[in-house]
């Protein structure tokens, strides 16, 4: 039953929208807005990890690039929400495009660690040398212009805007993954050497995917800074990379719905369970071990077969 949903993009979108609407009105809209933004981030991350087979341990860099691109544009240039969003996405894509040639050449362990190191460099640059523009440790508190009903101060509007954004990202990534291009990504994940023998320049495909993934993460970052109406260093902190990795693994890597399920499940745990768990990191560690050793397909990997 659930497997059918995955093969039908329209059904996927309807299901996603319905679940978040129910969830949103049953709990609280601002909270579910956070959930949906995180899901966008997980989808972007999973494009690299699940679909292309490269684990990045520094994807917070691109979330941060989006958040700071959006925040700095709104703070220093012009507080238009849409232009700021665009600035955030463009900055994320630009960072990915600049670092891509360096990162994409590597793979496996070196890929993961190089991303982590670059994330550390980014976090340092934002915190210290560029603090005049980024606000350093205090961050930037933001204010956005409103046009009629387009009012980002209103939590209901933010909820629907983020829901729309999530559906858009889900739709676009589904299209991408189901296209011949997506098949090629899957082939690169399985065996890159053979894809090269078929005459494809795998480097170009990996590079483009890296930029797309960075841009989606940056979009999530820009949405975060609009949603919170501030930007600070926690949005680029290398220590938070484990969250998105865990979410992707928990939901089921290599599936767009899996990413949404994982993002939602992780946010549910961290929002509701973490209140009762004093030893949150220990819990996270044991849960990660359980998923790595016993539940590799993730939640969605089992549910889709029902």
């Amino acid at each position: 039953m659930f497997g059918k949903v995955e093969n039908n993009p329209t059904l996927t979108l309807v299901f996603t929208a319905a679940i978040f609407l129910i969830f949103g009105y049953a709990t609280s809209l601002p909270k579910i807005t956070d959930f949906m933004i995180f899901c966008i981030f997980v989808i972007g991350f999973d494009l690299l990890y699940g679909h292309m087979g490269q684990l990045s341990f520094g994807h917070m860099l691109y979330l941060g690039a989006g958040a700071y691109g959006c925040g700095m544009f709104a703070y220093h240039v012009y507080p238009d929400p849409f232009l700021s969003l665009l600035a955030g996405v463009l900055l994320g894509a630009l960072v990915a495009a600049v670092l891509g040639p360096l990162v994409v050449k590597t793979s496996a362990a070196a890929f993961a660690l190089l991303n982590l190191a670059l994330n550390e460099v980014g976090a340092y640059l934002v915190l210290s040398p560029w603090h005049k523009w980024t606000g350093g440790e205090d961050g930037l508190s933001l204010f956005f212009k409103k046009y009629g009903f387009i009012n980002f101060q209103q939590s209901t509007f933010r909820f629907y805007f983020c829901l729309g954004s999530l559906l858009l990202v889900v739709y676009l990534v589904l299209r991408l993954v189901r296209s011949p291009y997506g098949n090629l990504l899957k082939a690169i994940k399985e065996n890159e050497v053979r894809v090269k023998f078929l005459g494809y320049n795998t480097y170009v495909y990996k590079y483009i995917t890296f930029i797309i993934s960075g841009a989606i993460a940056a979009f999530a970052g820009a949405l975060t800074s609009i949603n919170l109406s501030y930007t600070n260093t926690s949005l680029i902190s290398p220590a938070r990379n484990v969250e998105v990795i865990f979410a992707a693994l928990m939901g089921g890597a290599g599936s767009v719905i899996g990413a949404v399920v994982g993002g939602t499940a992780f946010m549910t745990i961290s929002n509701y369970l973490a209140v009762y768990l004093i030893r949150w990191e220990m819990f996270l560690g044991f849960a990660l071990l359980v998923f790595v050793f016993w539940i590799r397909k993730g939640i969605w990997g089992y549910v889709r077969k029902v």
């Binding site: 684990l55 360096l102 590597t106 993961a112 190191a117 040398p129 030893r279 560690g285 071990l289």
Partner: protein, 281 residues
């Protein structure tokens, strides 16, 4: 000039510590293809063990060092036996995630036991050597000497002993060694434990230069990964050269750019090295 020489000596100290910690990482990667984040936990446990024995119990630094080794060996055996051995030959991502999980659990346990606030350890030698206007804590000189000793000791170990030779051969071609009827994995496990004990020693040596905190493992680990990537994974001499060079980068950029810039500069150098010398890993 004096301050320059001082920075160079400080850089060699940091380089020596980075070298001592990185050997284990480099060998684990070269031999087993596993990126071991749990290495950072062993490092932190070593430092906390010496704090417990030397500062809380007041038994002296040398006893503390022995205690650190005594704790780290069984702990690393458990990690090797129950986590890492189950991940041989599988996708490297799972090993990264699983060992990171161990690091999280361990760091949280340390926070549980010792609290989150930074703890100081006093310099166990506490003497300053003075040459003209140059001042150098004797402890740092001891660290540099110790790291050089370890370098030569390990070189001998890998050239002269049977275990060392098997491991070097296994790094080259695991299947060929196994076809001679040698259980390579067992020898790798021995090397893993040696590497972990050295990580604990690194934690012990670094603690008096800095402070202890539960997340110290995360902080040093990324630097050590930079060392391993620059030096070549599984390459012992490369690891040593990379460790001392990056240690110098670290202390010189702290002295001449900004103290907070040092880590970022190390990663920048690493990225620059990668541009010119791509790695196949």
């Amino acid at each position: 000039m004096t301050s320059f020489i001082q920075s160079v000596l400080f850089g060699l100290t940091i380089g020596g510590i980075l070298y001592i910690i990185s050997i284990g990482l480099s060998l684990t990667f070269g031999a087993m293809g596993i990126v071991n984040f749990a290495h950072g936990l062993i490092y932190a446990v070593g430092a906390y063990a010496v704090y417990t024995v030397a500062t809380i119990l007041g038994a002296g630094f040398v006893v503390g060092v022995l205690a650190a080794l005594a704790v780290s060996v069984p702990l690393s055996y458990v990690i090797e036996r129950f986590v890492i051995r189950r991940l041989y030959g599988q996708s490297i991502d799972y090993a990264i995630i699983a060992t990171y999980a161990i690091l999280l659990i361990g760091a949280d346990s340390l926070k549980w036991i010792y609290g989150a606030s930074p703890l100081p350890i006093i310099d166990p030698i506490g003497k300053l050597w003075t040459f003209g206007s140059l001042q150098m804590p004797a402890y740092r000189v001891v660290i540099i000497g110790l790291s050089v000793l370890i370098f030569f000791g390990l070189s001998l170990f890998f050239k002269k002993t049977l275990v060392g030779k098997i491991v070097v051969a296994g790094l080259q071609d695991r299947e060929a060694v196994r076809s001679l009827g040698i259980r390579v994995e067992k020898h790798f496990a021995i090397v893993f434990i040696i590497g972990s004990a050295l990580a604990a020693l690194g934690g012990v040596l670094y603690a008096p230069l800095s402070t202890l905190n539960p997340y110290m493992g995360f902080e040093i680990l990324v630097l050590c990964f930079a060392v391993v990537i620059v030096g070549g994974m599984g390459n012992l001499r490369g690891t040593a050269i990379a460790a001392y060079s990056l240690g110098l980068v670290h202390s010189l950029s702290a002295a001449y750019i900004a103290s907070s810039a040092s880590d970022a500069m190390v990663y920048t150098v690493m990225a620059a090295v990668l541009i010119f010398r791509p790695i196949e890993a």
